[in-house]
Amino acid sequence: MSAFIVKRLGFAVITLWAVLTLVFFIVRVVPGDPAQVVLGDQATADAIAAMRVRLGLDRPLVLQYAEFLFGALRGDWGISLVTGRPVLVEVMDVLPWTLELTVASLFIGAIIGIPLGVWAAVNRNRIPDYVTRLASLLGLSFPAFVSGILLLILFAIQLRWFPVISAQAEGVGGWLRALALPAFNLGLIMAAYITRVTRSAMLEVLSEDFVRTARAKGVPWRVVVWRHALRNALIPVITIVGLYLGVLIGNSVLTEIVFNRPGLGKLIVGALNQRDYTMLQGMMVIYTLVVIVVNLLTDLAYGAADPRVKLK
Protein backbone atom coordinates (compact mmCIF):
# COMPACT_ATOMS: atom_id res chain seq x y z
CA MET A 1 0.00 0.00 0.00
CA SER A 2 2.79 2.45 0.90
CA ALA A 3 4.42 1.91 -2.51
CA PHE A 4 1.09 2.71 -4.11
CA ILE A 5 0.77 5.94 -2.07
CA VAL A 6 4.35 6.98 -2.92
CA LYS A 7 3.69 6.33 -6.61
CA ARG A 8 0.47 8.36 -6.61
CA LEU A 9 2.13 11.19 -4.65
CA GLY A 10 5.01 11.18 -7.14
CA PHE A 11 2.57 11.40 -10.02
CA ALA A 12 0.71 14.26 -8.28
CA VAL A 13 3.96 16.21 -7.87
CA ILE A 14 4.93 15.65 -11.51
CA THR A 15 1.44 16.70 -12.67
CA LEU A 16 1.59 19.84 -10.52
CA TRP A 17 5.01 20.75 -11.90
CA ALA A 18 3.88 20.08 -15.49
CA VAL A 19 0.76 22.22 -15.16
CA LEU A 20 2.64 25.03 -13.42
CA THR A 21 5.16 24.98 -16.27
CA LEU A 22 2.33 24.97 -18.81
CA VAL A 23 0.66 27.92 -17.03
CA PHE A 24 3.95 29.81 -17.00
CA PHE A 25 4.67 29.30 -20.68
CA ILE A 26 1.10 29.60 -21.96
CA VAL A 27 1.08 33.32 -21.12
CA ARG A 28 4.55 33.83 -22.56
CA VAL A 29 4.43 31.76 -25.73
CA VAL A 30 1.11 33.02 -27.06
CA PRO A 31 1.28 35.92 -29.51
CA GLY A 32 1.34 39.35 -27.90
CA ASP A 33 3.09 40.86 -24.92
CA PRO A 34 1.28 40.17 -21.60
CA ALA A 35 1.96 43.80 -20.60
CA GLN A 36 0.27 44.94 -23.81
CA VAL A 37 -2.61 42.52 -23.14
CA VAL A 38 -3.05 43.98 -19.63
CA LEU A 39 -2.98 47.60 -20.78
CA GLY A 40 -4.84 47.27 -24.08
CA ASP A 41 -4.06 48.47 -27.59
CA GLN A 42 -3.95 52.20 -26.78
CA ALA A 43 -1.11 51.94 -24.20
CA THR A 44 2.07 53.98 -24.74
CA ALA A 45 5.49 52.34 -25.03
CA ASP A 46 6.50 53.81 -21.63
CA ALA A 47 3.44 52.41 -19.92
CA ILE A 48 4.09 49.00 -21.45
CA ALA A 49 7.74 49.10 -20.32
CA ALA A 50 6.63 50.05 -16.77
CA MET A 51 4.09 47.23 -16.74
CA ARG A 52 6.76 44.78 -17.94
CA VAL A 53 8.89 45.75 -14.94
CA ARG A 54 5.89 45.45 -12.59
CA LEU A 55 5.08 41.98 -13.93
CA GLY A 56 8.76 41.00 -13.73
CA LEU A 57 8.86 40.34 -17.48
CA ASP A 58 12.09 42.31 -17.91
CA ARG A 59 14.09 39.69 -16.04
CA PRO A 60 15.62 36.56 -17.62
CA LEU A 61 13.07 33.84 -18.38
CA VAL A 62 14.81 31.23 -16.20
CA LEU A 63 14.69 33.57 -13.21
CA GLN A 64 11.01 34.34 -13.80
CA TYR A 65 10.27 30.62 -14.04
CA ALA A 66 12.13 29.81 -10.80
CA GLU A 67 10.41 32.67 -8.96
CA PHE A 68 7.01 31.58 -10.27
CA LEU A 69 7.55 27.96 -9.19
CA PHE A 70 8.82 28.79 -5.71
CA GLY A 71 6.18 31.49 -5.26
CA ALA A 72 3.42 29.06 -6.22
CA LEU A 73 4.72 26.46 -3.76
CA ARG A 74 4.92 29.04 -0.94
CA GLY A 75 1.37 30.20 -1.67
CA ASP A 76 2.65 33.52 -3.04
CA TRP A 77 0.68 33.86 -6.26
CA GLY A 78 1.27 37.54 -6.78
CA ILE A 79 -0.84 40.66 -6.42
CA SER A 80 -4.06 41.22 -8.37
CA LEU A 81 -3.47 43.91 -10.99
CA VAL A 82 -7.01 45.22 -10.52
CA THR A 83 -7.60 45.24 -6.76
CA GLY A 84 -3.96 45.39 -5.58
CA ARG A 85 -4.67 42.63 -3.02
CA PRO A 86 -2.78 39.31 -2.92
CA VAL A 87 -4.31 36.70 -5.22
CA LEU A 88 -4.45 34.21 -2.33
CA VAL A 89 -6.53 36.61 -0.19
CA GLU A 90 -8.95 37.23 -3.07
CA VAL A 91 -9.29 33.50 -3.58
CA MET A 92 -9.79 32.76 0.13
CA ASP A 93 -12.55 35.39 0.25
CA VAL A 94 -14.71 33.56 -2.26
CA LEU A 95 -13.60 29.96 -1.68
CA PRO A 96 -16.26 29.21 1.01
CA TRP A 97 -18.99 30.18 -1.50
CA THR A 98 -17.70 27.75 -4.12
CA LEU A 99 -17.10 25.01 -1.54
CA GLU A 100 -20.62 25.21 -0.07
CA LEU A 101 -22.10 25.17 -3.58
CA THR A 102 -19.99 22.17 -4.63
CA VAL A 103 -20.64 20.16 -1.46
CA ALA A 104 -24.39 20.91 -1.54
CA SER A 105 -24.62 19.92 -5.21
CA LEU A 106 -22.66 16.70 -4.67
CA PHE A 107 -25.02 15.88 -1.79
CA ILE A 108 -28.10 16.54 -3.96
CA GLY A 109 -26.54 14.60 -6.83
CA ALA A 110 -25.83 11.61 -4.57
CA ILE A 111 -29.24 11.43 -2.84
CA ILE A 112 -31.03 11.59 -6.19
CA GLY A 113 -28.53 9.77 -8.41
CA ILE A 114 -27.64 6.71 -6.31
CA PRO A 115 -31.22 5.47 -5.63
CA LEU A 116 -32.20 6.17 -9.26
CA GLY A 117 -29.17 4.28 -10.56
CA VAL A 118 -29.95 1.29 -8.32
CA TRP A 119 -33.62 1.38 -9.34
CA ALA A 120 -32.67 1.41 -13.03
CA ALA A 121 -30.17 -1.45 -12.59
CA VAL A 122 -32.56 -3.79 -10.76
CA ASN A 123 -35.18 -3.08 -13.45
CA ARG A 124 -32.78 -3.54 -16.35
CA ASN A 125 -34.38 -3.24 -19.80
CA ARG A 126 -37.78 -2.47 -18.30
CA ILE A 127 -39.71 0.80 -18.26
CA PRO A 128 -38.05 2.25 -15.10
CA ASP A 129 -34.64 1.60 -16.70
CA TYR A 130 -35.57 3.28 -20.01
CA VAL A 131 -37.14 6.28 -18.27
CA THR A 132 -34.15 6.72 -15.95
CA ARG A 133 -31.66 6.40 -18.81
CA LEU A 134 -33.49 8.94 -20.95
CA ALA A 135 -33.95 11.36 -18.04
CA SER A 136 -30.28 11.12 -17.04
CA LEU A 137 -29.16 11.61 -20.66
CA LEU A 138 -31.38 14.71 -20.83
CA GLY A 139 -29.88 15.92 -17.54
CA LEU A 140 -26.33 15.70 -18.78
CA SER A 141 -27.28 17.36 -22.08
CA PHE A 142 -28.25 20.56 -20.27
CA PRO A 143 -25.63 23.29 -20.49
CA ALA A 144 -25.49 24.48 -16.84
CA PHE A 145 -26.37 28.04 -17.81
CA VAL A 146 -29.49 26.96 -19.72
CA SER A 147 -30.82 24.87 -16.81
CA GLY A 148 -29.83 27.68 -14.42
CA ILE A 149 -31.75 30.26 -16.42
CA LEU A 150 -34.80 27.98 -16.61
CA LEU A 151 -34.75 27.49 -12.81
CA LEU A 152 -34.28 31.22 -12.34
CA ILE A 153 -37.19 32.12 -14.64
CA LEU A 154 -39.53 29.56 -13.09
CA PHE A 155 -38.75 29.66 -9.37
CA ALA A 156 -37.28 33.13 -8.84
CA ILE A 157 -39.00 35.36 -11.43
CA GLN A 158 -42.38 33.68 -11.97
CA LEU A 159 -43.10 31.93 -8.65
CA ARG A 160 -40.83 34.21 -6.53
CA TRP A 161 -39.98 31.33 -4.18
CA PHE A 162 -36.25 32.10 -4.24
CA PRO A 163 -34.15 35.27 -4.59
CA VAL A 164 -32.96 36.21 -8.12
CA ILE A 165 -29.48 37.05 -6.83
CA SER A 166 -28.02 34.33 -4.63
CA ALA A 167 -25.43 36.50 -2.88
CA GLN A 168 -27.91 38.17 -0.52
CA ALA A 169 -28.67 36.13 2.56
CA GLU A 170 -29.86 36.84 6.09
CA GLY A 171 -30.00 34.11 8.72
CA VAL A 172 -30.01 30.38 8.14
CA GLY A 173 -33.32 30.51 6.22
CA GLY A 174 -32.03 33.22 3.89
CA TRP A 175 -28.78 31.34 3.38
CA LEU A 176 -30.63 28.14 2.47
CA ARG A 177 -33.00 29.99 0.10
CA ALA A 178 -30.03 31.66 -1.59
CA LEU A 179 -28.14 28.38 -1.91
CA ALA A 180 -31.11 26.24 -3.01
CA LEU A 181 -31.44 27.14 -6.71
CA PRO A 182 -27.72 27.17 -7.62
CA ALA A 183 -27.18 23.94 -5.65
CA PHE A 184 -30.15 22.26 -7.35
CA ASN A 185 -28.93 23.43 -10.74
CA LEU A 186 -25.52 21.83 -10.26
CA GLY A 187 -26.93 18.94 -8.21
CA LEU A 188 -29.43 17.83 -10.86
CA ILE A 189 -26.72 17.71 -13.53
CA MET A 190 -24.46 15.82 -11.11
CA ALA A 191 -27.38 13.45 -10.34
CA ALA A 192 -27.59 12.62 -14.07
CA TYR A 193 -23.92 11.55 -14.09
CA ILE A 194 -24.18 9.67 -10.78
CA THR A 195 -27.34 7.83 -11.93
CA ARG A 196 -25.58 6.49 -15.03
CA VAL A 197 -22.41 5.51 -13.21
CA THR A 198 -24.35 3.84 -10.35
CA ARG A 199 -26.53 1.94 -12.84
CA SER A 200 -23.60 0.45 -14.73
CA ALA A 201 -21.62 -0.30 -11.55
CA MET A 202 -24.66 -2.02 -10.03
CA LEU A 203 -25.26 -4.06 -13.20
CA GLU A 204 -21.70 -5.34 -12.96
CA VAL A 205 -21.87 -6.14 -9.24
CA LEU A 206 -25.31 -7.79 -9.46
CA SER A 207 -23.91 -10.32 -11.93
CA GLU A 208 -21.14 -11.41 -9.56
CA ASP A 209 -21.00 -14.72 -7.71
CA PHE A 210 -21.30 -13.34 -4.16
CA VAL A 211 -24.69 -11.83 -5.05
CA ARG A 212 -25.90 -15.23 -6.26
CA THR A 213 -24.51 -16.86 -3.10
CA ALA A 214 -26.29 -14.34 -0.88
CA ARG A 215 -29.53 -15.01 -2.77
CA ALA A 216 -28.99 -18.78 -2.45
CA LYS A 217 -28.52 -18.39 1.31
CA GLY A 218 -31.94 -16.79 1.42
CA VAL A 219 -30.91 -13.19 2.04
CA PRO A 220 -33.87 -10.99 1.03
CA TRP A 221 -33.45 -9.31 -2.38
CA ARG A 222 -33.79 -5.83 -0.85
CA VAL A 223 -30.88 -6.54 1.54
CA VAL A 224 -28.77 -8.04 -1.26
CA VAL A 225 -29.29 -4.94 -3.42
CA TRP A 226 -28.94 -2.18 -0.85
CA ARG A 227 -26.40 -3.70 1.57
CA HIS A 228 -24.31 -6.21 -0.36
CA ALA A 229 -24.32 -4.97 -3.95
CA LEU A 230 -24.52 -1.20 -3.46
CA ARG A 231 -21.65 -1.21 -0.98
CA ASN A 232 -19.42 -2.77 -3.64
CA ALA A 233 -20.80 -0.64 -6.48
CA LEU A 234 -20.10 2.59 -4.59
CA ILE A 235 -16.32 2.21 -4.97
CA PRO A 236 -16.27 2.80 -8.75
CA VAL A 237 -18.99 5.44 -8.32
CA ILE A 238 -16.77 7.47 -5.97
CA THR A 239 -13.82 7.16 -8.35
CA ILE A 240 -15.77 8.18 -11.41
CA VAL A 241 -17.45 11.07 -9.61
CA GLY A 242 -13.90 12.24 -8.81
CA LEU A 243 -13.14 12.16 -12.53
CA TYR A 244 -16.16 14.40 -13.21
CA LEU A 245 -14.62 17.14 -11.09
CA GLY A 246 -13.64 19.02 -14.26
CA VAL A 247 -17.25 18.99 -15.45
CA LEU A 248 -18.40 20.10 -11.99
CA ILE A 249 -15.92 23.00 -11.93
CA GLY A 250 -16.94 24.16 -15.43
CA ASN A 251 -20.62 23.98 -14.51
CA SER A 252 -20.04 25.82 -11.22
CA VAL A 253 -18.49 28.73 -13.16
CA LEU A 254 -21.64 29.00 -15.31
CA THR A 255 -23.93 28.55 -12.28
CA GLU A 256 -22.17 31.32 -10.36
CA ILE A 257 -22.62 33.70 -13.29
CA VAL A 258 -26.32 32.87 -13.76
CA PHE A 259 -27.16 33.23 -10.06
CA ASN A 260 -24.78 36.18 -9.59
CA ARG A 261 -23.07 34.34 -6.77
CA PRO A 262 -19.53 35.06 -5.59
CA GLY A 263 -17.06 32.22 -6.12
CA LEU A 264 -13.99 31.01 -7.97
CA GLY A 265 -15.89 30.95 -11.27
CA LYS A 266 -16.96 34.58 -11.07
CA LEU A 267 -13.46 35.51 -9.94
CA ILE A 268 -11.82 33.89 -12.98
CA VAL A 269 -14.32 35.40 -15.43
CA GLY A 270 -13.79 38.82 -13.81
CA ALA A 271 -10.02 38.35 -14.14
CA LEU A 272 -10.44 37.46 -17.81
CA ASN A 273 -12.65 40.48 -18.53
CA GLN A 274 -10.34 42.88 -16.69
CA ARG A 275 -7.20 41.25 -18.07
CA ASP A 276 -5.96 40.61 -14.52
CA TYR A 277 -3.02 38.53 -15.63
CA THR A 278 -1.56 37.62 -12.21
CA MET A 279 -5.01 36.70 -10.88
CA LEU A 280 -5.53 34.44 -13.89
CA GLN A 281 -2.18 32.74 -13.32
CA GLY A 282 -3.01 32.24 -9.63
CA MET A 283 -6.47 30.87 -10.42
CA MET A 284 -4.98 28.31 -12.79
CA VAL A 285 -2.64 27.18 -10.01
CA ILE A 286 -5.62 26.89 -7.63
CA TYR A 287 -7.69 24.83 -10.07
CA THR A 288 -4.72 22.56 -10.72
CA LEU A 289 -4.17 22.05 -7.00
CA VAL A 290 -7.85 21.27 -6.42
CA VAL A 291 -7.95 18.80 -9.31
CA ILE A 292 -4.72 17.09 -8.24
CA VAL A 293 -5.71 16.83 -4.58
CA VAL A 294 -9.17 15.42 -5.43
CA ASN A 295 -7.69 12.95 -7.93
CA LEU A 296 -5.13 11.88 -5.34
CA LEU A 297 -7.81 11.43 -2.68
CA THR A 298 -10.02 9.39 -5.04
CA ASP A 299 -7.05 7.23 -6.02
CA LEU A 300 -6.14 6.66 -2.37
CA ALA A 301 -9.77 6.00 -1.40
CA TYR A 302 -10.00 3.47 -4.23
CA GLY A 303 -6.70 1.90 -3.18
CA ALA A 304 -7.82 1.67 0.45
CA ALA A 305 -11.23 0.23 -0.47
CA ASP A 306 -10.03 -2.25 -3.07
CA PRO A 307 -6.79 -4.05 -2.15
CA ARG A 308 -6.43 -5.34 -5.73
CA VAL A 309 -5.54 -1.82 -6.93
CA LYS A 310 -2.12 -1.76 -5.30
CA LEU A 311 -1.10 -4.79 -7.30
CA LYS A 312 -1.47 -2.90 -10.58
Partner: protein, 289 residues
Amino acid sequence: MSATARPRNAAIAATIRAFNANKTSWFGLGVFILVVALAILAPWIAPNDPIEQDIFSKLQGPSSTYPLGTDYFGRCILSRLLYGARYSLLIGVVSTLAAMLIGSTIGILAGWHGGRFDVIVMQAMDVMLAFPALILGLIIVAVLGPTLTNIIVAIAFTSIPAFARIARAPTISVKEREYVEACRALGFSDARIMFLHILPNIFAEILVMSSLWLASAIRTEASLAFIGLGLKPPTPTWGGMIREGFENILDSYWLALAPGTAILVVVFALNLLGDGLRDAVDPKLKGEQ
Protein backbone atom coordinates in the same frame (compact mmCIF):
# COMPACT_ATOMS: atom_id res chain seq x y z
CA MET B 1 -10.50 -11.23 -50.46
CA SER B 2 -14.09 -12.35 -50.08
CA ALA B 3 -13.13 -14.53 -47.12
CA THR B 4 -11.78 -11.53 -45.21
CA ALA B 5 -14.56 -9.24 -46.38
CA ARG B 6 -17.34 -11.49 -45.09
CA PRO B 7 -16.60 -11.26 -41.33
CA ARG B 8 -16.23 -7.51 -41.58
CA ASN B 9 -19.55 -7.22 -43.44
CA ALA B 10 -21.10 -9.46 -40.81
CA ALA B 11 -19.71 -7.21 -38.05
CA ILE B 12 -21.07 -4.12 -39.79
CA ALA B 13 -24.45 -5.80 -40.26
CA ALA B 14 -24.52 -6.75 -36.56
CA THR B 15 -23.63 -3.19 -35.61
CA ILE B 16 -26.42 -1.78 -37.80
CA ARG B 17 -28.87 -4.31 -36.31
CA ALA B 18 -27.88 -3.27 -32.78
CA PHE B 19 -28.22 0.39 -33.74
CA ASN B 20 -31.65 -0.30 -35.26
CA ALA B 21 -32.80 -1.99 -32.06
CA ASN B 22 -32.51 1.30 -30.21
CA LYS B 23 -35.27 3.58 -31.50
CA THR B 24 -34.05 6.60 -29.55
CA SER B 25 -30.74 6.63 -31.45
CA TRP B 26 -32.68 6.92 -34.74
CA PHE B 27 -34.60 9.80 -33.21
CA GLY B 28 -31.29 11.45 -32.25
CA LEU B 29 -29.89 10.95 -35.75
CA GLY B 30 -33.10 12.32 -37.33
CA VAL B 31 -33.11 15.45 -35.18
CA PHE B 32 -29.43 16.06 -35.85
CA ILE B 33 -29.86 15.70 -39.63
CA LEU B 34 -32.84 18.09 -39.46
CA VAL B 35 -30.79 20.71 -37.60
CA VAL B 36 -27.93 20.35 -40.10
CA ALA B 37 -30.40 20.78 -42.99
CA LEU B 38 -31.96 23.87 -41.39
CA ALA B 39 -28.51 25.35 -40.83
CA ILE B 40 -27.45 24.73 -44.45
CA LEU B 41 -30.74 26.13 -45.80
CA ALA B 42 -30.70 29.17 -43.47
CA PRO B 43 -30.08 31.76 -46.24
CA TRP B 44 -33.15 30.46 -48.14
CA ILE B 45 -35.56 29.71 -45.32
CA ALA B 46 -34.77 32.44 -42.77
CA PRO B 47 -37.67 34.94 -42.90
CA ASN B 48 -35.41 37.97 -42.26
CA ASP B 49 -31.83 39.21 -42.20
CA PRO B 50 -30.33 37.95 -38.90
CA ILE B 51 -28.38 41.13 -38.16
CA GLU B 52 -30.69 43.80 -39.57
CA GLN B 53 -32.02 45.95 -36.74
CA ASP B 54 -35.55 47.32 -36.68
CA ILE B 55 -35.64 49.48 -33.58
CA PHE B 56 -39.35 50.24 -34.04
CA SER B 57 -40.25 46.57 -33.65
CA LYS B 58 -38.00 45.63 -30.72
CA LEU B 59 -39.10 42.98 -28.19
CA GLN B 60 -42.18 42.01 -30.19
CA GLY B 61 -44.08 38.77 -29.70
CA PRO B 62 -44.51 36.19 -32.48
CA SER B 63 -46.10 37.54 -35.68
CA SER B 64 -46.26 36.59 -39.37
CA THR B 65 -43.20 38.79 -40.09
CA TYR B 66 -41.26 37.59 -37.04
CA PRO B 67 -42.44 34.02 -36.25
CA LEU B 68 -40.51 33.86 -32.93
CA GLY B 69 -40.65 37.59 -32.21
CA THR B 70 -37.80 40.09 -32.06
CA ASP B 71 -34.94 40.82 -29.66
CA TYR B 72 -33.76 44.01 -27.96
CA PHE B 73 -32.51 45.45 -31.25
CA GLY B 74 -35.61 44.45 -33.23
CA ARG B 75 -33.84 41.54 -34.93
CA CYS B 76 -35.74 38.43 -36.01
CA ILE B 77 -35.15 35.69 -33.39
CA LEU B 78 -35.98 32.80 -35.75
CA SER B 79 -33.52 34.05 -38.39
CA ARG B 80 -30.79 34.50 -35.78
CA LEU B 81 -31.53 30.99 -34.48
CA LEU B 82 -31.19 29.49 -37.98
CA TYR B 83 -27.97 31.34 -38.78
CA GLY B 84 -26.68 30.65 -35.24
CA ALA B 85 -27.01 26.92 -35.94
CA ARG B 86 -24.44 27.34 -38.73
CA TYR B 87 -21.82 28.71 -36.33
CA SER B 88 -22.58 26.20 -33.56
CA LEU B 89 -22.35 23.26 -35.97
CA LEU B 90 -19.32 24.62 -37.84
CA ILE B 91 -17.35 25.20 -34.63
CA GLY B 92 -18.52 21.88 -33.16
CA VAL B 93 -17.79 19.75 -36.22
CA VAL B 94 -14.43 21.29 -37.16
CA SER B 95 -13.10 21.28 -33.58
CA THR B 96 -14.24 17.68 -33.04
CA LEU B 97 -12.69 16.56 -36.36
CA ALA B 98 -9.41 18.31 -35.49
CA ALA B 99 -9.35 16.77 -31.99
CA MET B 100 -10.23 13.36 -33.45
CA LEU B 101 -7.44 13.56 -36.02
CA ILE B 102 -4.72 14.80 -33.64
CA GLY B 103 -5.88 12.88 -30.54
CA SER B 104 -6.33 9.55 -32.34
CA THR B 105 -2.92 9.88 -34.00
CA ILE B 106 -1.30 10.53 -30.61
CA GLY B 107 -3.22 7.60 -29.04
CA ILE B 108 -2.34 5.15 -31.84
CA LEU B 109 1.33 6.20 -31.78
CA ALA B 110 1.50 5.81 -27.98
CA GLY B 111 -0.29 2.45 -28.04
CA TRP B 112 1.83 1.17 -30.94
CA HIS B 113 5.23 2.22 -29.62
CA GLY B 114 4.52 1.52 -25.93
CA GLY B 115 7.35 1.81 -23.39
CA ARG B 116 8.64 5.13 -22.15
CA PHE B 117 7.18 7.05 -25.11
CA ASP B 118 3.71 5.79 -24.19
CA VAL B 119 4.15 6.64 -20.49
CA ILE B 120 5.34 10.21 -21.16
CA VAL B 121 2.75 11.00 -23.83
CA MET B 122 -0.18 9.57 -21.87
CA GLN B 123 0.88 11.29 -18.66
CA ALA B 124 0.92 14.56 -20.59
CA MET B 125 -2.58 13.73 -21.84
CA ASP B 126 -3.70 12.94 -18.27
CA VAL B 127 -2.39 16.32 -17.11
CA MET B 128 -4.44 18.02 -19.84
CA LEU B 129 -7.43 15.88 -18.99
CA ALA B 130 -7.14 16.81 -15.32
CA PHE B 131 -7.62 20.50 -16.06
CA PRO B 132 -11.28 21.61 -16.32
CA ALA B 133 -12.03 21.87 -20.06
CA LEU B 134 -14.17 24.98 -19.82
CA ILE B 135 -11.55 26.89 -17.80
CA LEU B 136 -8.81 25.86 -20.26
CA GLY B 137 -11.01 26.88 -23.20
CA LEU B 138 -11.82 30.19 -21.51
CA ILE B 139 -8.17 31.02 -20.97
CA ILE B 140 -7.10 30.05 -24.51
CA VAL B 141 -9.86 32.11 -26.12
CA ALA B 142 -9.27 35.04 -23.76
CA VAL B 143 -5.55 35.09 -24.54
CA LEU B 144 -5.78 34.45 -28.30
CA GLY B 145 -8.95 36.50 -28.89
CA PRO B 146 -12.51 35.36 -29.67
CA THR B 147 -12.28 34.64 -33.40
CA LEU B 148 -13.80 31.65 -35.22
CA THR B 149 -10.39 29.96 -35.64
CA ASN B 150 -9.30 30.56 -32.04
CA ILE B 151 -12.56 29.20 -30.61
CA ILE B 152 -12.15 26.08 -32.76
CA VAL B 153 -8.50 25.72 -31.63
CA ALA B 154 -9.46 26.11 -27.95
CA ILE B 155 -12.27 23.54 -28.06
CA ALA B 156 -10.18 21.10 -30.15
CA PHE B 157 -7.24 21.44 -27.74
CA THR B 158 -9.38 20.53 -24.73
CA SER B 159 -10.78 17.41 -26.47
CA ILE B 160 -7.48 15.95 -27.76
CA PRO B 161 -6.62 13.91 -24.60
CA ALA B 162 -9.99 12.14 -24.61
CA PHE B 163 -9.43 10.95 -28.21
CA ALA B 164 -5.84 9.94 -27.41
CA ARG B 165 -7.11 7.74 -24.56
CA ILE B 166 -9.91 6.19 -26.59
CA ALA B 167 -7.56 5.35 -29.50
CA ARG B 168 -4.70 4.04 -27.36
CA ALA B 169 -6.55 1.27 -25.49
CA PRO B 170 -7.81 -0.68 -28.56
CA THR B 171 -4.48 -0.11 -30.37
CA ILE B 172 -2.71 -1.99 -27.57
CA SER B 173 -5.03 -4.99 -27.87
CA VAL B 174 -5.22 -4.95 -31.69
CA LYS B 175 -1.43 -4.79 -32.16
CA GLU B 176 -1.08 -8.26 -30.60
CA ARG B 177 -3.43 -9.88 -33.16
CA GLU B 178 -2.16 -12.32 -35.75
CA TYR B 179 -2.95 -10.16 -38.74
CA VAL B 180 -0.71 -7.39 -37.37
CA GLU B 181 2.02 -9.98 -36.85
CA ALA B 182 1.47 -11.01 -40.48
CA CYS B 183 1.79 -7.38 -41.62
CA ARG B 184 5.08 -7.13 -39.74
CA ALA B 185 6.33 -10.37 -41.25
CA LEU B 186 5.49 -9.00 -44.68
CA GLY B 187 7.74 -6.04 -43.88
CA PHE B 188 5.07 -3.32 -43.90
CA SER B 189 6.15 0.00 -42.44
CA ASP B 190 4.89 1.04 -38.97
CA ALA B 191 2.90 3.89 -40.48
CA ARG B 192 1.22 1.56 -42.98
CA ILE B 193 0.25 -0.94 -40.26
CA MET B 194 -0.98 1.77 -37.89
CA PHE B 195 -3.08 3.76 -40.30
CA LEU B 196 -4.17 1.19 -42.90
CA HIS B 197 -4.61 -1.87 -40.72
CA ILE B 198 -5.10 -0.82 -37.08
CA LEU B 199 -7.07 2.39 -37.62
CA PRO B 200 -9.95 0.75 -39.56
CA ASN B 201 -10.35 -1.74 -36.71
CA ILE B 202 -10.59 0.85 -33.96
CA PHE B 203 -12.43 3.49 -36.00
CA ALA B 204 -15.88 2.51 -34.69
CA GLU B 205 -14.87 3.34 -31.14
CA ILE B 206 -13.39 6.68 -32.23
CA LEU B 207 -16.59 7.49 -34.15
CA VAL B 208 -18.75 6.85 -31.08
CA MET B 209 -16.53 9.17 -29.10
CA SER B 210 -16.87 11.82 -31.83
CA SER B 211 -20.66 12.03 -31.60
CA LEU B 212 -20.46 12.46 -27.82
CA TRP B 213 -17.66 15.03 -28.09
CA LEU B 214 -19.52 16.90 -30.81
CA ALA B 215 -22.31 17.37 -28.27
CA SER B 216 -19.77 18.53 -25.73
CA ALA B 217 -18.08 20.90 -28.24
CA ILE B 218 -21.42 22.56 -29.10
CA ARG B 219 -22.14 22.98 -25.39
CA THR B 220 -18.67 24.43 -24.74
CA GLU B 221 -18.99 26.90 -27.62
CA ALA B 222 -22.34 28.07 -26.27
CA SER B 223 -20.86 28.34 -22.76
CA LEU B 224 -17.95 30.44 -24.04
CA ALA B 225 -20.37 32.71 -25.90
CA PHE B 226 -22.56 32.99 -22.79
CA ILE B 227 -19.56 34.07 -20.73
CA GLY B 228 -18.75 36.68 -23.39
CA LEU B 229 -15.96 34.87 -25.23
CA GLY B 230 -17.93 33.84 -28.29
CA LEU B 231 -17.94 35.34 -31.76
CA LYS B 232 -18.29 39.11 -31.59
CA PRO B 233 -21.79 40.66 -31.93
CA PRO B 234 -23.78 41.08 -34.10
CA THR B 235 -22.81 37.57 -35.33
CA PRO B 236 -25.72 35.34 -34.30
CA THR B 237 -24.63 32.52 -31.95
CA TRP B 238 -26.91 30.55 -29.66
CA GLY B 239 -24.80 31.19 -26.55
CA GLY B 240 -24.59 34.89 -27.43
CA MET B 241 -28.38 35.07 -27.89
CA ILE B 242 -28.89 33.50 -24.45
CA ARG B 243 -26.46 36.03 -23.01
CA GLU B 244 -28.43 38.91 -24.52
CA GLY B 245 -31.67 37.45 -23.19
CA PHE B 246 -30.09 36.85 -19.77
CA GLU B 247 -28.88 40.46 -19.52
CA ASN B 248 -32.52 41.55 -19.72
CA ILE B 249 -33.94 38.59 -17.82
CA LEU B 250 -36.27 40.57 -15.57
CA ASP B 251 -38.23 42.21 -18.39
CA SER B 252 -37.75 39.91 -21.40
CA TYR B 253 -36.70 36.48 -20.18
CA TRP B 254 -38.28 34.68 -23.17
CA LEU B 255 -35.38 35.85 -25.35
CA ALA B 256 -33.19 33.20 -23.70
CA LEU B 257 -35.74 30.40 -24.09
CA ALA B 258 -35.58 29.78 -27.87
CA PRO B 259 -31.75 29.51 -28.16
CA GLY B 260 -31.60 27.60 -24.85
CA THR B 261 -34.06 25.03 -26.19
CA ALA B 262 -32.13 24.84 -29.48
CA ILE B 263 -28.86 23.96 -27.71
CA LEU B 264 -30.59 21.44 -25.46
CA VAL B 265 -32.31 19.71 -28.41
CA VAL B 266 -29.09 19.40 -30.46
CA VAL B 267 -26.95 18.22 -27.53
CA PHE B 268 -29.62 15.75 -26.40
CA ALA B 269 -30.03 14.41 -29.95
CA LEU B 270 -26.26 13.91 -30.29
CA ASN B 271 -26.09 12.19 -26.89
CA LEU B 272 -28.95 9.85 -27.90
CA LEU B 273 -27.11 9.11 -31.13
CA GLY B 274 -23.80 8.55 -29.33
CA ASP B 275 -25.45 6.30 -26.75
CA GLY B 276 -27.04 4.19 -29.50
CA LEU B 277 -23.78 4.00 -31.44
CA ARG B 278 -21.90 2.93 -28.32
CA ASP B 279 -24.40 0.19 -27.55
CA ALA B 280 -24.14 -0.96 -31.18
CA VAL B 281 -20.35 -0.98 -31.26
CA ASP B 282 -19.86 -2.50 -27.82
CA PRO B 283 -22.95 -4.15 -26.33
CA LYS B 284 -21.04 -4.74 -23.07
CA LEU B 285 -21.11 -1.00 -22.41
CA LYS B 286 -24.87 -0.71 -22.80
CA GLY B 287 -26.00 2.41 -20.99
CA GLU B 288 -22.67 3.27 -19.44
CA GLN B 289 -21.51 6.84 -19.35
